[in-house]
Homo-oligomer: 359 residues x 2
């Protein structure tokens, strides 16, 4: 069953000098009875990759192989595997292992595992299902990977893998709070930031019949946001536009990772509205006490989503043809794409690496 040559992956790794990606050998662990091996065909580039590459959160170890929006085709299956057969399309998102014993894992919220989830890259293996313990996980900027089937997502045969790849992080990051907060027809949903995450929020909420308001610093994104399904647009640089939106929203999904003032967003909420933070801005989220007390608004947040909801999201999106706008790039263009994200992603597309270009 185990063909050692199938483990000999190549991967694009950021070295400690932070100058460029280099291609390295990235031998994968064995395909055990509960795991699958797969060829990676596409991997989306996420803003989180930028944080890890630049060690913004601390703790990055180099060489670092990023990538947690991974789509490929199964090449090998362990004997206990039931969900996949060779040739199936497969997706892997941010999580490749968790304790599977705590109440969070039992509730299909592996991202909040009490023992700590093992993320797809840059994390130390600890739970035994992502290779031998004590190794650093390597992500999807790579040619081959191995994953326990518990953490693998089935992608429908008819789905385009390049467009499906970014759903594994950007899609679930928006889908999960949209589900959690019960968005339905008529819910007034604001989506702050019209980038890789925001466009998925607009599309998914609109597909559910929500009345979507896109919120951006860039007026130039209005046409694009509306083409995704937004009914209204608020330009944060236009005071009149911001003022006109006061009290108009039930929920704001804030995808902006750059530091920003939350008070204007809280102002856009109606009574009992919720501002849900999805990005990791470095400065605190600050809102006046009057917003909370006089109108019972809330600020909260959400982090990706569990495996069960990720599968549900893939089924939902693929069956309705809901995909991000993408630009497929050679791996050599990954540094430029990361820089574009750092600069605010004016293009508004999700960059996706064609992993066949990793050699």
């Amino acid at each position: 069953m185990t063909d050692a040559t199938a483990r000999l992956a190549r991967a694009a790794a950021m070295s400690a000098d932070l100058k460029s990606f280099e291609t390295i050998d990235a031998t994968r662990h064995d395909v055990d009875d509960d795991s699958i091996g797969y060829d990676v065909l596409y991997c989306g580039i996420c803003h989180t990759d930028l944080h890890f590459v630049h060690n913004d959160l601390g703790g990055t170890k180099y060489p670092l192989v990023p990538g947690h929006e991974v789509a490929g085709v199964v090449t090998e299956v362990g004997k206990n595997v039931t969900k996949f057969k060779v040739g199936d399309k497969v997706g892997v998102g941010c999580i490749v292992d968790s304790c599977l014993k705590c109440k969070e894992c039992a509730a299909d919220e592996e991202q909040y595992c009490e023992k700590g989830m093992t993320m797809t890259y840059g994390y130390e293996t600890t739970h035994g299902r992502a290779g031998p313990n004590g190794q650093q996980t390597m992500g999807g900027y790579s040619t081959r990977m191995v994953v326990n089937e518990r953490f693998a997502i089935k992608i429908p045969d008819t789905a385009p893998l390049d467009k499906a790849a970014p759903l594994l992080c950007a899609g679930i990051t928006l889908y999960d709070p949209i589900k959690q907060f019960g968005v339905k027809a008529g819910t007034r949903v604001g989506v702050a930031g019209v980038g890789g995450l925001g466009m998925m929020g607009i599309k998914i909420a609109a597909a559910l019949g929500a009345e979507v308001t896109a919120i951006s610093r860039s007026k130039a994104k209005e046409a694009k946001a509306k083409s995704f399904g937004a009914k209204h647009f608020v330009s944060m640089n236009d005071e009149a536009s911001v003022a006109a939106a006061a009290g108009s929203l039930d929920l704001i999904l804030d995808t902006v990772s750059a530091c920003h003032d939350s008070e204007p967003y809280a102002n856009m909420l109606d009574k009992r509205g919720t501002l849900c933070m999805l990005g990791l801005q470095v400065t605190p989220v600050a809102v006046n006490a009057t917003q909370f007390v006089f109108t019972r608004k809330s600020v909260t947040g959400s982090l990706i989503g569990g495996i069960k909801n990720t599968q549900e999201m893939i089924d939902f999106c693929c069956s309705r043809d809901i995909y991000p706008e993408i630009e497929v790039i050679d791996v050599t263009k990954a540094p430029d794409a990361l820089q574009a994200l750092a600069d605010g992603n004016c293009s508004g597309v999700r960059y996706v690496i064609d992993c066949k270009t990793i050699q």
Copy 2:
């Protein structure tokens, strides 16, 4: 039915020089068919009175008669009144009118009335049930009042009026979020601030079987907090005490009105825990995005409570002998009591004016 002399109230008013209270004539409006007239016997002194007296929120008009923790005895009833008869004990809290047409009023949340509630003092009458429109309401630092029975609370015959008075604001301000967030046996509830509000939070939550942690800057309040029913105590000036409480609470009811850093409180919450602001600190409530995203904590707030819940709270507290610790004072001591609140209320008691001393 209308005895004009019964309207000739006296009241303690703060004048524009902010130097002292002076006793003024405070003629009340007529007792119409749906209203009751009552002698005010006791009125609690609330931190909000201080904000209004000092015009901290803007808009105070002098002379100002504060007081929204009012307890008295009915002396006159309109012909349509069904809840009260002469001689009954009656309470009035923060609200004396609202539109009674909007969805908030229909949901018994008059404090969030879409047309704006009329508060018991310092507000302009607009809805027709608190006297002629366009007048400023005068509160309970007074000898007599008139209220529409819709906004009057029945106080059980057996309840002590001096102790019951503060329930009308301090009690409902804590009871409402305790109910809203489903506090029950075993819920881990933190109560920040052990003053007039905080003690009610401790007592009510403990009565419901919650595991209560009192949180205070003053270690001196530990014994008092525990006598109220707190099981644990966190001293905010003791780093070890704060650190030991990390992740230990489901809900924090933050009654602190003074400006304070919310991050240490958010740290005390377990995953998905809620920090509920009840005070109106002037500086923004600031919490790091990681608290929201990585652990799905929330910050929200609550404002007093509607009339239905206020009646429910009175019935709950009076039947279980849950009252604040009070100190009954002559009206001449009201300025000292307000100053004590401004200084952090080291005594931890709720000051209650004996309204017979207003002459």
